[in-house]
């Protein structure tokens, strides 16, 4: 990381730490909500980036893990099991298992087939949860208190939830930073560049991609666990394929295969989602146009554009 990048990161983290206090002082508690949602989506987008940006696996069903993580809060809560640790374990365990089982099938396919089969599995889960009346089906599941994390921690206090989410985001970003630079990361990135060559060098590429897929699913399950807590309302909509499309958009808007890209992308997306509706009720139209422009011209997303702009201003 460059020196200016380092300073920027420090300033951002400091700002993030101070935000709840400022929000209370300024009488704008709503700001916290926006940033909590932003950070949760950044975690989800980062997990997608791991398989999409770094490994070249385009999944159009990644939001399914958000749903699984969220229901891992909702279903135990329905049975009065409110322990956050239990729910977290369930979220990570369930997402990991789902990633493993579907990965075993999906990862045997390539390119377009992979895209569609991940989409299909996510829709399958969507319909399964819609059909389970017990847990609300289409109407969703409401929980009345957030996860209990232990004495002294009360997640029903928004600023405490905020710090938990912030902590998770920073931890995830550090994890991904280390992961992509590790031996494992080297293998994954090289598989994306030339899988045939990797096999000819003795790598069981299927196994590496599967492990990457499972890790990605679990991180996204974590995001779901946080989201379930945040919204207090868990519904199959959370895993609808349009949610998955939004995650892809966030990764590409910010810059794929970078640690910070997904965070930037989530920021842009939430920014658009929060501010545009103030201007027009037909804001989806402009979001759609933005996505098309980014698809056609936005190689590397915001970070890519920034790097190119920097390159131009130097002789």
């Amino acid at each position: 990381m460059s020196k200016s990048g380092g300073w920027l990161a420090v300033v951002t983290v400091l700002g993030a730490l101070l935000l709840p206090f400022w929000a209370e002082y300024a009488g704008e508690p709503f700001i916290l909500d926006v940033f909590i949602r932003l950070m949760i989506l950044a975690i989800a987008a980062s997990s997608l980036n791991l398989i999409l940006g770094y490994s070249g696996m385009v999944s159009l069903g990644h939001a399914v893990f958000i749903g699984i993580g969220a229901y891992a809060v909702g279903i135990p809560a329905y049975y009065d099991l409110n322990s956050g640790w239990l729910q977290l374990a369930a979220a990570l365990g369930a997402s990991g298992c789902f990633a493993l089982l579907t990965g075993l099938i999906c990862l045997r396919t390539r390119g377009a087939y992979f895209i569609m089969i991940t989409l299909a599995f996510a829709q399958m889960m969507y319909f399964i949860f819609v059909s389970i009346e017990e847990y609300g089906g289409d109407d969703g599941l409401v929980i009345y208190s957030r996860s209990e994390m232990g004495p002294g921690i009360d997640l029903d206090d928004n600023s405490q939830l905020y710090f938990l989410v912030l902590f998770c985001l920073i931890a995830v970003m550090i994890l991904i930073h280390r992961l992509t630079r590790s031996d494992f990361g080297q293998v994954i990135r090289s598989i994306k560049i030339n899988e045939v060559r990797m096999q000819a060098l003795g790598f069981d590429t299927f196994r590496y991609r599967l492990v990457c897929y499972v890790i990605s699913g679990m991180i996204c399950g974590l995001a779901g666990w946080l989201l379930g807590n945040f919204t207090g309302f868990i519904s199959p909509e959370m895993m609808d394929w349009t949610r998955s499309g939004e995650l892809i958009a966030m990764v590409l808007l910010g810059g794929a295969a970078t640690v910070v890209g997904p965070l930037l992308g989530a920021g842009i997306f939430i920014g658009v989602e929060t501010l545009l509706p103030e201007i027009t009720i037909y804001w989806h139209l402009y979001l759609g146009i933005l996505l098309i422009i980014v698809a056609k011209f936005g190689r590397g997303g915001l970070l890519g554009w920034w790097t190119r702009w920097q390159g131009r201003s130097r002789p």
Partner: protein, 307 residues
């Protein structure tokens, strides 16, 4: 379980299959020949429904509305292909997904601007409103019979075009190896436009046929599109035969599953268990089918891709 009920559900399954085929045929050809993933294909389904509904209300004639709506949707398909799709053929799948996702947002909003947020429905002419007596004492709505017949006719026509005409040969060749066809000096771009627009028209036809039953609504194409994707994965990308077989399989299994799975499960499970698990399992059926087929034939039943 009486046989009339089974027959009715089989017919419903065929109806769903026929609609899925109309959607999937265009999708699989566009995908197979132009290597273009079009998430917004469902928009044509939606547009066909809205345009037909509007025309039916203005002209007070269902027949006229259908006869006009299909060509109009075809023309819209041409415009979209020339303006947007064409720019994306060279892009990789990820960019295509992002762009067509954006297109869905645009299409849904445009429909909202033009027609408002509420759905639109229209009444069928009287003659189509009745029931008709088929075999075995089965009474089935006339209109649904019409849908099935229309769909099968289009399938037959498409089959004849694809296997017995020069254009069809180019389509089949292009589906398995696009560059070869280009090298033959065929004006491939016109072929692309034709295929894309034909797909749009078929999707529009499906949408307008279902509209009197379920109403034309914003985003109606998005959910059924996913099922169309399952169909083309099962059938094999680029294959119209595959799309047909896949669509029929999916339509029948999904419909029959939803209707009869709990009866079937009651053979082994308790009444309670069968009733609670049946909806969830029947939701999974077509995806399980897809997974099974992909395990033994990763390229789908009739996959033709040469890559």
């Amino acid at each position: 379980m009486d046989s009339a009920l089974v027959m009715i559900q089989v017919l419903n399954g065929l109806q769903l299959g026929v609609l899925l085929f109309l959607l999937a045929a265009g999708l699989t050809l566009v995908f197979g020949i132009m290597d273009f993933i079009n998430l917004a294909h469902g928009a044509f389904y939606m547009l066909g429904a809205f345009i037909c509904a509007t025309l039916a209300l203005w002209l007070d004639s269902f027949l006229l509305a259908v006869l006009l709506a299909v060509p109009i949707t075809f023309v819209i398909g041409v415009v979209v292909e020339l303006g947007i799709a064409r720019q994306l053929y060279q892009a990789d799948h990820l960019e295509q997904i992002l762009a067509t996702f954006g297109l869905i947002l645009i299409a849904d909003t445009l429909v909202q601007i033009i027609w408002g947020p509420e759905g639109l429905t229209f009444a069928l002419p009287e003659i189509l409103n009745g029931q008709v007596r088929l075999f075995y004492d089965v009474e089935f709505p006339v209109y649904r019979v019409l849908i099935i017949s229309a769909g099968l006719l289009v399938a037959l026509a498409l089959y004849l075009v694809v296997s017995h005409t020069r254009i069809g040969m180019l389509i089949r060749a292009g589906a398995s190896n696009r560059r070869m066809v280009e090298a033959l000096g065929v004006d491939i771009r016109m072929l692309f436009t034709l295929v894309f627009a034909a797909g749009a028209a078929m999707a529009g036809l499906a949408g307008l046929m279902i509209a009197p039953i379920t109403e034309a609504s914003i985003g109606m194409g998005n959910e059924i599109l996913i099922v169309a994707f399952v169909v083309i994965v099962i059938g094999g990308i680029g294959s119209v035969q595959g799309a047909f077989l896949g669509a029929m399989l999916v339509g029948l299994i999904d419909t029959l599953g939803r209707s009869f799975l709990d009866d079937f499960l009651r053979l082994f499970l308790s009444h309670q268990a069968a009733e609670t698990s049946a909806p969830a399992i029947s939701a999974m059926l077509i995806y399980i089918l897809m997974a099974v087929i992909l395990t033994f034939r990763p390229q789908g039943l009739f996959g033709v891709r040469s890559s």
